[in-house]
């Protein structure tokens, strides 16, 4: 029957592409377990060692940058949720004539290329003392992710049937009670996915974090970027640092793949 032949072809193409696409990551993983001497020889046979992982932190203070990534991603996500949740609630359950325009306007702010405002941002940050501060980056990330957070929450809230909230009103629930007992428990998976997407986007952000931070507040993106100069030739350590930098996000992304699609497409694909 056609199906098993289709299955076979699909399997071959599927696994080939999987191996090809994943190979660079695999290679990075492998290199991280090599000694520096082995690392520059692209061979598959070597004596594995964890030395590089230990060195990464002692030489270049990896933990400091990692902590910056954590603080900046989570801080910005919490802030974005605090601001975005009420807004998404208002748009989803109390839509007015202007709601559509408002949502589209928020979308449009995301479309502005960051590079277009690089100059004033740099100067503003410099003059406000925000250059190379965690607070500065948190504020920037929040502004950048707010449209996605709001659209994603909006999309999940729209899935909650309005009569459920109305039943809550009839039972005596006002705004905060509705949120606490009805809306948030029901849309918790959606809120969690939104938070995870925000964390992923902040963690991987590679424009503002490279230009407006240095040794104090630089996150892992900047840390890795510093390995790009010729002195940073220590490939095993680079691989170890990179593996540590991407592992948490990779796992997070794998777990929430499906739900992320909604946020990544501003609700257009569910």
């Amino acid at each position: 029957m056609n199906n098993s032949r289709n299955s076979l072809i699909a399997g071959i193409i599927g696994w080939t592409s999987a191996i090809v696409m994943f190979f660079p990551i695999f290679w990075m993983l492998v290199t991280s377990f090599k000694s520096e001497i082995d690392a520059v020889v692209p061979s598959i046979f070597f004596k594995p060692t964890l030395q590089s992982y230990f060195d990464v932190n002692s030489r270049a203070d990896y933990l400091h940058y990692a902590w910056n990534s954590v603080v900046e991603s989570i801080g910005s996500t919490i802030l974005a949720l605090m601001i975005g949740l009420p807004a998404a609630y208002a748009c989803a359950f109390y839509p007015g004539r202007k709601t559509k325009d408002l949502l589209l306007w928020m979308l449009s702010t995301k479309m502005m290329p960051a590079v277009g405002v690089l100059v004033p941002m740099y100067l503003m940050f410099r003059d406000a003392g925000l250059l190379d501060t965690r607070l500065g980056l948190v504020l920037l990330f929040t502004g950048g992710n707010l449209p996605i957070v709001i659209w994603m929450l909006y999309s999940f809230f729209k899935d909650v049937p309005t009569p459920i909230l109305e039943a809550g009103r009839m039972d005596g629930a006002r705004f905060w009670t509705q949120m606490r007992y009805i809306l948030i428990p029901i849309s918790l998976p959606g809120i969690a996915s939104t938070a995870l997407l925000s964390i992923i986007l902040c963690w991987n952000e590679a424009f503002w974090s490279l230009n407006l931070s240095a040794s104090q507040a630089g996150p892992l993106t900047a840390f890795i970027a510093s390995f790009s100069s010729p002195e940073g030739l220590f490939w095993a350590k680079l691989s170890a640092a990179s593996t540590l930098a991407v592992a948490p996000i990779l796992i997070m992304g794998w777990i929430t793949q499906r739900q992320l699609v909604r946020g990544l497409t501003f609700g257009a694909v569910k």
Binding site: N2, S7, L8, A10, G11, I13, G14, S17, M21, F22, P24, W27, M28, P86, A87, A90, F93, G96, K100, L102, L103, L104, W105, M106, L107, T109, K110, M112, P113, A114, V115, G116, L118, V119, P120, Y122, L123, G143, I150, R169, R174, A206, F207, L210, A222, A225, F227, S228, W235, S239, A245, I249, L250, W254, R258, V261, L264, T265, A268, V269
Partner: protein
């Protein structure tokens, strides 16, 4: 429900979000516009003054700006094509059931979650390095000449890196979109005699048309501002071979400290982005209608 319900005033709920976005948009935008008309270089901060449209004139007449715009278009166009083509292929492939499908799919979508600086450095050092990279190893093993990727094919190399990251994005979106394909419709088509490619062309592809357009437009937003990959690999070179508009402005602003020039270029970038944005907004407006 009525918007002006006694129950709730939506104003205070929306105000913080609107406020934040207004601030982040209006203030920097206003400054960029202002600076673009100024003569202001941070290396000589004493020399200031209204420059009129001098900055714009210099930019638009310099070939460097046009080269960077061309590079941007080449980069975006190539990556878009690659991601859409492979995205569709992978979506169709991963819609079939085969052993280990879920794991294979995880592997295929992994690159999207890798931060751009890591991606770039993996490709530059571990894979493409002319002496120690994996590709050179394979070339030597096969007896083929070793290619110094970033010197001989710089733009192509950058495109590869960026496409490698974004093909998973397109795949992820389109695989999800395939789930909503009406199976009954496909069965009806099969009864009408459509098989294999005909089925794909007449049923699957039209269904994917909308998600594909969403993918294209979202990628446009992000691809126009590719930056980290270029910074970490080629720094725009050799020459201007891989300088896109983003990198061009970066160089002007933070390497040459030409605030006026960089701002003018920034305005041009914003105008370009807005043209793309106009199409995007219209499509999403239609989406909102449908909901």
């Amino acid at each position: 429900m009525a918007a002006r319900s006694r129950e709730l005033k939506t104003g205070p709920l929306l105000a913080p979000a609107v406020g934040v976005l207004l601030f982040w948009m209006i203030v920097p935008l206003a400054f960029t516009l202002w600076f673009s008309f100024q003569r202001y270089n941070l290396q000589n901060p004493m020399i200031t003054g209204f420059a009129g449209i001098t900055n714009y004139k210099i930019l638009l007449m310099s070939s460097r700006l046009w080269v960077s715009i061309l590079n941007t278009l080449v980069l975006v166009g190539s990556v878009l094509s690659l991601t859409v083509i492979f995205g569709i292929i992978f979506a169709v492939v991963f819609d079939q059931d085969f052993p280990g499908r879920n794991i294979a799919r995880l592997l295929v979508t992994a690159p999207f979650f890798i931060m751009p600086t890591v991606s770039a450095l993996i490709w530059k050092n571990l894979l493409m390095h002319p002496v120690n990279g994996f590709f050179s190893y394979v070339s030597r093993w096969l007896g083929l000449p070793v290619i110094d990727w970033f010197v001989q094919w710089p733009m192509f190399s950058v495109i590869m890196i960026v496409a490698w990251q974004w093909i998973p994005f397109a795949t992820l979106i389109l695989v999800t979109a395939m789930q909503s394909l009406d199976r009954e419709q496909m069965e009806a088509a099969r009864m009408d005699g459509a098989k294999g490619f005909a089925l794909f062309w007449n049923i699957t592809l039209p269904h994917l048309a909308r998600p594909i357009s969403v993918v294209v437009m979202i990628e446009c937003i992000f691809l126009l501002s590719v930056f980290a990959e270029i910074l970490v690999t080629t720094s725009g070179g050799p020459g201007m071979a891989t300088t896109n508009l983003s990198y061009f402005i970066y160089m002007r602003a933070l390497l040459q400290w030409d605030v006026g020039g960089a701002s003018a270029a920034g305005v041009i970038a914003i105008v370009l982005a807005n043209i793309v944005a106009a199409f995007l907004i219209r499509t999403f407006a239609k989406n909102l209608e449908r909901d």
